[in-house]
């Protein structure tokens, strides 16, 4: 039971990181029906930005908490700018073309960004400092959950609440829901859909950046290729939950996190990455719409 609880909690922490990335996939899909394969790269860029900015700030002798906050902010801004630019340059011109064009464009952008980082930085794994502080009140339960996992969980939960409120109650949130349901009609009530689509990419990319910083701190290392694996897994999570559905992405992410964690714990850690793809194959056969894919209440 003890062992199970440990695995369950680490799966929860993992799942909440997948959720941060999966939300970007699902929001973008909900609005423009595009699988944004470059999304994983935006997350990787977030991690690298934090590494570089954090390194400079450390050299300037700033306290750890300031380094943490500033480097997360920097990666949010940088990734959001990337997300915005990618949409403008690579997807918007193809919006009224066959869907495959934008998909291929997305794969192209993904390769460009990976290779750009590989050439501009390095192809090696770099160690990523743990920016996240040690929380002393967790000491009694640290066998079950460590500080990093706890911070990941709390951050993700807070972001989920904010995102849900944003979509449900704000003007831009309503515009996003209307655009997701019927772009033409949204325009006819006065929604500037280009703006809504840009905002969606910005929000999705910002979430991915937070995910990037958190998971790199958790794993302690970074590489130009991490976006690919994480991106594919988050994509699996989004499809599992029902692509286009926000609660679905979160649910799918947790299921994936738990499966991976329990699978590695009870079966074999060699297959860690395989579990995600086994799940993907199973959903595609058994329930192609995903768990919450039909009659989704919110489709953004």
């Amino acid at each position: 039971m003890d062992y199970f609880l440990k695995l369950f909690l680490s799966g929860t922490a993992k799942g909440s990181i997948y959720a941060l990335i999966a939300l970007g996939y699902t929001m973008v899909y909900g609005i423009v029906q595009l699988i944004n394969f470059a999304h994983g790269e935006v997350y990787m860029l977030g991690g690298f930005t934090a590494l570089i900015v954090g390194g400079y700030l450390f050299m300037l002798g700033m306290p750890v908490w300031a380094v943490l906050v500033l480097s997360i902010l920097a990666s949010i801004v940088f990734s959001a700018a990337f997300g915005f630019t990618i949409e403008r340059l690579a997807y918007r011109p193809l919006r009224n073309k066959p869907r495959l064009s934008a998909l291929i464009s997305a794969i192209g952008i993904s390769m460009i960004l990976q290779n750009f980082v590989m050439l501009a930085q390095t192809e090696k794994y770099l160690s990523f400092p743990s920016y996240l502080p040690e929380l002393t009140f967790l000491l009694p339960v640290r066998e079950y959950i460590n500080s990093t996992q706890f911070i990941i969980l709390v951050t993700t939960s807070v972001i989920m609440v904010f995102l849900t409120a944003l979509i449900k109650f704000t003007r831009i949130g309503k515009a996003m829901r209307a655009t997701a349901q019927d772009k033409g009609m949204a325009q006819l009530v006065g929604v500037n859909i280009n703006q809504v689509i840009s905002v969606t990419f910005i929000i999705g990319s910002a979430l991915a950046a937070v995910g990037g910083v958190l998971i790199c701190s958790y794993m302690g290392q970074i590489n130009y290729y991490i976006g690919f694996v994480a991106g594919i897994k988050a994509f699996v999570a989004a499809v599992l939950g029902g692509i286009g559905s926000i609660p679905g992405a979160v649910l799918g992410s947790f299921i994936l996190g738990w499966t991976e964690s329990l699978g590695t714990g009870y079966i074999s850690s060699d297959y860690e990455d395989a579990f995600a793809f086994i799940i993907l194959i199973l959903i595609l056969i058994l329930k192609p719409d995903g768990i919450l894919g039909k009659n989704q209440k919110q489709k953004v």
Binding site: K174, A178, G184, A186, L188, G190
Partner: protein
């Protein structure tokens, strides 16, 4: 000066010309109807006016200013509001949220609330269903919601695309009464596109007949109702 005027508007889908030199004018406070068969270009005319479909040549004037090929949201902001063909209710938004979307570009909450009450007074059915997803309403209710959503924008011109489509005769009658009432009570100018020529001409001041993308006839609604050709082709008399 006419409130809205189309001058020699031509619209294409690829190489296929959908509208050929359409010219028409709508005076403030009027009900103007555009009648025609399926595929004549009625919906294209409305979508061209609203900026969803871009026009290749010609002018669309609102208060004498050319608004053609502007972004749709800017055109809505100038006071044009459309009830599109097939109603296009946001299916997963509630009735109240759908109405709220109609007032998307307005920010005076007090006036919006007053308009909402007015809409609920015209269509009590919508008030009963305000928390229900729009997609669960019946066809007639959805049409009421689509009209109400457009009214929530407080438009200067209300554009209606076949509001009678697919509705039972009794409900069609009801909808036309309400269109007339909106015109009389709120002084909203109405541009009504219809296949149901009889009903449309009965409430309109002026009518245009669209055939294969060009205007074939333009006259007062009374004259068109009496015209032998119109009676034969569109009224089945």
């Amino acid at each position: 000066m006419a409130l809205m005027e189309l001058r020699n508007v031509c619209t294409y889908y690829g190489n296929i010309q959908a509208l050929r030199n359409i010219s028409l004018s709508i005076e403030e406070g009027e009900i103007v109807t555009l009648i025609g068969a399926n595929g004549a270009g009625k919906t294209t005319t409305l979508m061209s006016i609203c900026g969803i479909t871009s026009i290749r040549s010609g002018e669309i004037l609102l208060d004498g200013v050319d608004i053609s090929n502007q972004s749709p949201h800017k055109i809505v902001a100038m006071g044009l509001s459309q009830v599109p063909e097939g109603r296009r209710i946001f299916p997963q938004l509630t009735v109240a949220e759908n109405l709220d979307m109609g007032a998307f570009l307005r920010d005076n909450k007090v006036l919006i609330k007053a308009d909402l009450e007015e809409v609920f007074e015209i269509f009590p059915r919508l008030a009963e269903r305000r928390n229900q997803p729009g997609g669960t309403l019946s066809g007639g209710e959805q049409q009421m919601l689509a009209i109400s959503r457009a009214l929530m924008a407080r438009p200067r011109i209300l554009l209606l695309d076949e509001p009678s489509l697919g509705l039972a005769p009794l409900i069609v009658h009801n909808i036309f009464e309400i269109i007339k009432r909106i015109n009389e009570e709120r002084k909203t100018t109405i541009f009504l596109v219809e296949q149901n020529a009889n009903m449309a001409l009965k409430i309109a001041n002026k009518g245009y007949v669209l055939q294969n993308g060009s205007i074939k006839m333009a006259d007062s609604a009374e004259n068109l109702l009496a015209n032998a050709e119109v009676r034969k082709a569109y009224l089945g008399l």
